[in-house]
Symmetry: C2
Subunit: 411 residues, 2 copies
């Protein structure tokens, strides 16, 4: 089963922003067993919309347009698609009534442009929009389903989940895709594929995709063999078992979860609390931990001590340790971790001190040199890392390495 996604909007081509609706759509379609071998971003122009639709219709089972359904003059998706298919547009009284009500509520007048949002190509199905003015539309053209969906993510996402996917599943009789996910932390991304490819390559009925981001690797395994659910899961589980065997404690989740979420869950299960003392990461560790709703249950607080004097002042690091070993050193990491644990009373004190660059490196301690410290009831440990990448990458790798260390210590 094949889909094509066509994002319409001149602004998507001219502003420095990645188009993410199509990423969401391709993932959702994949979950119901539909491949998207091509996607497009086209300007709000009839010619581009016609050409894209023309090529898409040659093979696609499902074509999804997003964007260009708004009330401004630029928004021409509805008219362009209807024109290409030779369908007339009629004003839909139901939509018109809802539009009128909505505009009245905000004390606004309905203009001619607004009225265009009530136009529906003959024979099309209207898909109501709970979060905006432009309804979605479904046109059945021979065997192809053509969807016209709104561009704003907060309108699009719920419409896709609640209406579009169920419609496709029903009309195209698709079945769910069988897949497994493995998340890995604390390994050099460049080495992981070399270790794993001999394992997953042996499974010809399973498609493997690997996504790396600094310090985190996500593996997706998709079943593409015969239509037998128990065989699929037997093979998928067998492969995941072998991957876990090879990677050991580096596998931190078997679903698509973020590392701080897993760390938070472990802390909560064990009724432990965490506090952070950060230098080079500048608050990134605590930011990642507190991205998670409910983190106040286990995160008590932290200190960002960028200068030496703050390490002394806020954390009680011994000035002579700083002088003897330098701020980026194992003894300072240890004293930072102990200091924050002591000051906050948290079960675990976690520290990061390092050189994120671009300046500040030396031959002895090049950019990317990072020390982590962890203090808990058993005592204090430190780790030295040498991390590749630019400033932002070194900071992200450091923060994730620190959180992964907490995870490993609790697993």
């Amino acid at each position: 089963m094949r889909a094509e996604i066509i994002a319409v909007g001149t602004e998507l081509l001219t502003t420095p922003r990645s188009e993410s609706n199509s990423v969401f759509l391709a993932r959702k379609l994949r979950e119901i067993g539909i491949e998207t071998p091509r996607k497009w971003v086209v300007a709000d122009r009839e010619q581009e919309i016609h050409e894209a639709l023309g090529l898409a219709l040659k093979e696609a089972d499902v074509v999804i347009f997003t964007g260009g359904l708004g009330p401004t003059r630029d928004d021409i998706t509805r008219e362009a698609v209807a024109g290409f298919l030779g369908l007339e547009l009629h004003e839909d009284p139901g939509i018109m009534q809802r539009l009128r009500k909505r505009y009245e509520r905000f004390g606004m007048e309905l203009t001619d442009n607004n009225r265009r949002q009530a136009l529906v190509p003959e024979g099309a199905t209207v898909i109501s929009n709970q979060n905006g003015t432009a309804p979605g539309l479904l046109i059945c053209h021979s065997d192809t389903l053509i969807f016209l969906l709104p561009g704003p993510p907060r309108e699009l996402y719920p419409m896709v989940e609640e209406k579009v996917l169920p419609l496709i599943t029903k009309l195209k009789k698709t079945k769910p895709l069988w897949l497994k996910t493995v998340k890995i932390a604390g390994e050099a991304e460049s080495h992981v594929d070399a270790r794993l490819s001999p394992i997953y390559s042996a499974y010809r009925e399973i498609d493997t995709t690997i996504l790396s981001s600094p310090g985190i690797i996500t593996l997706h395994f998709y079943w593409k063999g015969e239509d037998d659910e128990s065989l699929a899961f037997q093979k998928l589980n067998e492969l995941v078992g072998k991957i876990k065997n090879e990677m050991g404690g580096s596998v931190y989740a078997e679903v698509d979860r973020e590392l701080p979420d897993v760390v938070g869950e472990l802390l909560q299960e064990r009724e432990l609390t965490l506090a952070t003392a950060e230098s080079c990461t500048g608050g990134l560790v605590s930011k990642l931990v507190t991205d998670i709703a409910g983190s106040s249950q286990y995160f008590v607080g932290g200190v960002v001590c960028y200068s030496n004097s703050m390490k002394v002042e806020l954390l009680g690091v011994d000035p002579s340790t700083l002088e003897r070993h330098g701020a980026v050193s194992s003894p300072v990491a240890a004293e930072m971790a102990e200091g924050i644990r002591h000051r906050t009373g948290a079960s675990i004190g976690l520290s990061v001190t390092g050189i994120a660059g671009p300046g500040g490196g030396s031959i002895e301690k090049p950019v990317g040199t990072v020390f982590l410290g962890m203090a808990n009831e058993k005592g204090t440990e430190t780790q030295e890392l040498l991390l590749p990448g630019d400033r932002l990458t070194v900071r992200l790798r450091s923060a994730r390495a620190a959180l992964d260390w907490v995870r490993r210590s609790l697993s």
Copy 2:
């Protein structure tokens, strides 16, 4: 002048990641006056590559492929494009020699797949790659320039800046685009366009694009009138002047700069230092400040105090203030700002306390209620905000509002 960008790679369609090379390319092309009314992401499949190239060649002056030049079996861009154009591939001795050297250096053997990276379509120009194994290729097909460029951003970006854009400028005699940028902070995005559109709409020779992200709005103005540089800049400057007049101190930059960068520069100019006390933002303010290289010049440190006891312990907030007003209140924001300023000796103490959600809201203080505090030599001030959005958006808006307040106080 018209370009089409075709990103090749099955992984771009199947992994939850936005494709960003094309955003970079479209922006760079726009700067030399080339429009990109369509871009594509296609799988590593001959059919999709042929169809995209076929349609692109109908009108484009420049076609840029990215990706699919690597050494693995999947990578077929080179062969597919040459096949479509009827060009034979020859092994290039210069590339072959560099490949051999590179692999020897890493102690690796050159496989048949690796050798494919040395293949060049007849008549094509080789564009050397300083950062990887796959060179870029330029094929001149009638009047159209077809570029085949590597996918990894750290190989692509320098190749585009240093080689591809100069080649296009020379061969297509393009001229730079005349544009101006305005960045706005601390305004509700939904209201800004209503205020500005009557102003910029009056300039028919200027194209305006508006990009909003939580708390920040970026306006780009592109000249599309006649080919007269002094007229272009006279009109662009006139429009920017009117925009600044309307938005006043909310305009924080007239180039594409980040807010923390501007705040850092102001602090450095005035020889002031900053320290932060964060509750709901959980370290995000200090993270944003320290994303900037050299921030240790003006950022001394901060405290993340998620719990009430930490506000007392680490910042000296009075327990009776917490009890009387609650942690999310103006008096607590004031004491946090004073506390961090006092403990660190920074010139400016900046605090954030609020309810980021999804839980924790009440009728009196709903989710999105945020208090900022600023303490400096003149005294202490606070601000109350009610910010829309989910947890991550409220946090980002809060952090940016806090930084913008510092900017305004220094401007």
